[in-house]
């Protein structure tokens, strides 16, 4: 922890020192969306023509689409002409001057999570002036990755430096016409991550968004593309356990993963966007499209997510199991407290022979939270011998919350096997009494029981992330009992 904490601190200052070129700091684009705005975004990013064409195609298609309403969440209509689609990074000194000016609730949460002070400042937008020996950390990472042949950079950089790769894979998993929010993203996406791991290379470190250069201000319409060539392996960590505030209410990200023969991609997310207050005011709408393609033989894609933030979470990290013998996994913890809503799950599309998938979903509802698991297991005719195992468990705290399970299963051949198990339980008065009788406070008992409930999923997270995720659950559950 301490090494990485130090690395974070060091990197923090780097971003403030060198992160943004002065001339884009003052940039804004007028409110609303039309072709001119898209041309402007593309021009500001100095994109090649194929990118602009792609954005415009997406935009024109988006105009013909209707916002979906089938999901089990409620929110007021979004005015898409009232959004600023390109905003440059916040200039230095405009945010709070010190942590004293930051919402004390937020600082309290930081402290409970054990976020280092400098990192707290960065996350809450305080200008950090302290000087660290910063360049070295980033350089070390870059050198190590470059030596292995791994490309890890912002999406914008990839468009500039590796246009042939972007052109080849962009939209190949989530096409620009995929769905309302993915299409909107395709038209206006700001930035994101790009990862390319060449043939036979095992990426020498966990790639974390923490260490991505120029990572600031890509939150609203983020776009990530990860490609693992034959026999390559990469583990990617997205997000942060600290509460993330953002003035943009709508977040519509897209993530595409491509795994070729024998390649493995492990994608872990901890999402803790601002959930709104205890009365359900404010908070982020997190409408995300995440999909991976196991394109090669015996390739494997694993999604692990811990979702505790956002007012509304709506996402289904999916795997298209195209290559024979390929494997898809989805491990999820979704927690809703107060008035949060989550409609999340996965899609496993079995196309190749002997493809396998595992779904493990843990939903926790507290307060007035509504938690829906929605999952599709589709086994196509050619997917002989395909297997799926699904387990969906829901845990309820109190009597004002809800848990819903909506599995969809389509099997088109006779040699496949699909199993589905579901359970709903309540934290019992007897469990709490057992713990308190032994001297454990009620609050600690709740978080212990909830963490136990999620253990199978936390096991899938990289060690350090898992520890943080546990703390995060405890903090997110505060005040949910008694």
């Amino acid at each position: 922890m301490s090494t990485s904490a130090k690395a974070l601190q060091e990197l923090t200052s780097r971003q403030y020192k060198y992160g943004f070129v002065t001339d884009i700091e003052a940039d804004t684009v007028p409110r609303g969306l039309n072709e001119d705005v898209i041309r402007l975004i593309s021009a500001k990013k100095n994109e090649p023509e194929f990118m602009l064409d792609w954005r415009l195609k997406a935009f024109r298609h988006w105009l013909t689409m209707k916002e979906p309403r089938w999901q089990n969440v409620r929110y007021a209509p979004i005015d898409y002409q009232d959004i600023v689609y390109y905003s440059a990074p916040k200039p230095k000194g405009q945010g709070p001057k010190s942590l004293e000016e930051v919402d004390p609730e937020l600082v309290k949460a930081f402290d409970k999570l054990g976020i280092p002070l400098e990192e707290q400042k960065r996350l809450s937008g305080v200008a950090v002036d302290a000087v660290f020996d910063s360049v070295s950390v980033a350089t070390t990472f870059k050198e190590k990755l470059a030596k292995a042949g791994v490309i890890f950079c912002s999406f914008s950089e990839a468009v500039q430096n590796h246009p042939e790769l972007v052109k080849k894979y962009l939209g190949s998993v989530v096409p620009y016409s995929d769905n309302f929010f993915a299409t909107l993203n395709s038209a206006v996406f700001s930035d994101g991550s790009f990862v390319y791991v060449p043939k036979g290379v095992r990426c020498p470190m966990e790639l974390s968004t923490y260490f991505r250069i120029n990572a600031e201000n890509t939150g609203q319409f983020e776009r990530t593309l990860i490609v693992a060539e034959e026999g390559a392996y990469v583990s990617y960590l997205e997000g942060c356990t600290a509460p993330m505030r953002d003035k943009n209410q709508l977040h519509a990200a897209v993530v595409e993963l491509v795994a070729l023969d024998n390649a493995r991609i492990k994608y872990s997310t901890v999402q803790n966007w601002y959930p709104g207050d205890a009365q359900g005011r404010g908070g982020i709408y997190n409408f995300v499209t995440k999909r991976g393609a196991c394109r090669g033989r015996a390739s494997k894609i694993s999604w692990t997510q811990v979702e505790t933030g956002s007012a509304i979470t709506w996402k289904y990290p999916s795997v298209i199991l195209q290559g024979d013998d390929s494997v898809g996994e989805f491990h999820s913890v979704a927690l809703t407290n107060n008035y949060q809503q989550a409609d999340t799950g996965t899609k496993m599309i079995h196309i190749g022979k002997n493809t396998r998938s595992t779904i493990l979903s843990k939903g926790i509802s507290a307060g007035h939270g509504q938690n829906t698991y929605r999952g599709l297991v589709k086994i196509q005719k050619g997917a002989a011998g395909a297997r799926n195992y699904t387990q969906c468990d829901s845990l309820l705290l109190g009597s004002n919350c809800g848990a819903h399970t909506m599995p969809y299963i389509e099997v088109k051949n006779t040699s496949s096997q699909v199993e589905h198990e579901a359970s709903t339980s309540k934290i019992g008065e007897d469990q709490l009494f057992y713990c308190t009788q032994r001297g454990i406070s009620q609050e600690d008992a709740v978080s212990m029981i909830v963490n136990g409930f999620c253990r199978e999923v936390f096991k899938e997270l990289p060690m350090e992330f898992a520890v943080e995720a546990q703390k995060l659950l405890s903090v997110s559950l505060e005040g949910s009992i008694g």
Binding site: D430, F433, C435, T436, Q437, R438, G439, Q442, G452, F453
Partner: protein, 263 residues
């Protein structure tokens, strides 16, 4: 055995009902338990034995309507369950609860350190705790594989009860309440559990042993025996009373019940 000073636990005219209902369960219990003493509470099903145990431990499903409970001279009923645990009260559950995904030893260490912290003592680190746990596991012949399992999950009835006594040994309470610890045990398990309990008897520790059957008292020999019926203690005596009950059954106390009812 008598105590020269005030007893550790003094229950006066304790009356209890199920919260949010009119159902009366305890109708005036009087009981004194001194340090070093083992009291057995017997009685037929539904006589209120387990309710008494749970009320002493602070379970909120019950509501005290009258009477008082003094523990070491202080008002016990004013304390929350965890405050009572800090004060040294432990209850071995009749039905130990399962907590999936939470490791047995992790649970117990969390409990022990919570108690130590609130008593102003230093918390035990993982290594010291493991040494303590290993030593105490021997008392109830606990299988080492148990350390890797979740709290009571998939345990047999006997393992659950052994686990309760193991927890008691680690938490080292002043007043232990054993709620039907013998139920569901075969004779071998009963012996193991009883010998574990006996090894924890000491002049500073009081125990209240609740049981339906006399047979447990062959192994854990009580100083006093009380018989409950219909929410009251109707007979008290030494261990001979338990043997008498064994012969005559609870019919022995039934006349008393009928008289009560007729009054």
């Amino acid at each position: 055995m008598t105590t020269p000073t005030a007893p550790m636990l003094r229950i006066k005219d304790l009356q209890v009902k199920v919260r949010d209902s009119d159902k009366e369960i305890l109708r005036g219990i009087d009981l004194e338990v001194g340090a070093g003493e083992v009291h057995a509470i017997m009685g037929p099903n539904g006589s209120g034995k387990s309710t008494l145990a749970q009320v002493l431990a602070g379970r909120e499903t019950f509501q005290v309507t009258k009477g008082e409970v003094l523990y070491e001279g202080k008002d016990l009923l004013a304390l929350s369950p965890e405050e009572r645990a800090v004060a040294g009260i432990f209850m071995a559950f009749q039905y130990p609860v399962e907590i999936p995904g939470v490791g047995n030893l992790y649970f117990l260490r969390t409990a022990l350190n919570a108690l130590r912290k609130r008593r102003g003592e230093e918390e035990l680190d993982a290594m010291d705790f493991l040494a303590l746990a290993k030593e105490k596991m021997k008392l109830v012949a606990m299988d080492p594989s148990f350390t890797g399992r979740s709290v009571n999950e998939g345990f047999s009835g006997g393992e659950k009860k052994r686990n309760e006594i193991f927890q008691m040994a680690v938490l080292d309470p002043k007043l232990a309440i054993l709620d039907e610890t013998d139920s569901g045990l075969d004779i071998d398990a009963l012996r193991t559990v009883a010998s574990g309990v006996n090894s924890l008897r000491s002049k500073d520790r009081a125990m209240i042993v609740i049981t339906h059957y006399q047979r447990l008292l062959d192994y854990i020999v009580p100083d006093r025996v009380h018989v409950m019926s219909n929410g009251r203690i109707v007979r008290s005596g030494d261990r001979e009373l338990a043997l008498e009950l064994e012969q005559k059954g609870y019919a022995l106390v039934e006349p008393a019940v009928r008289q009560e009812a007729a009054r």
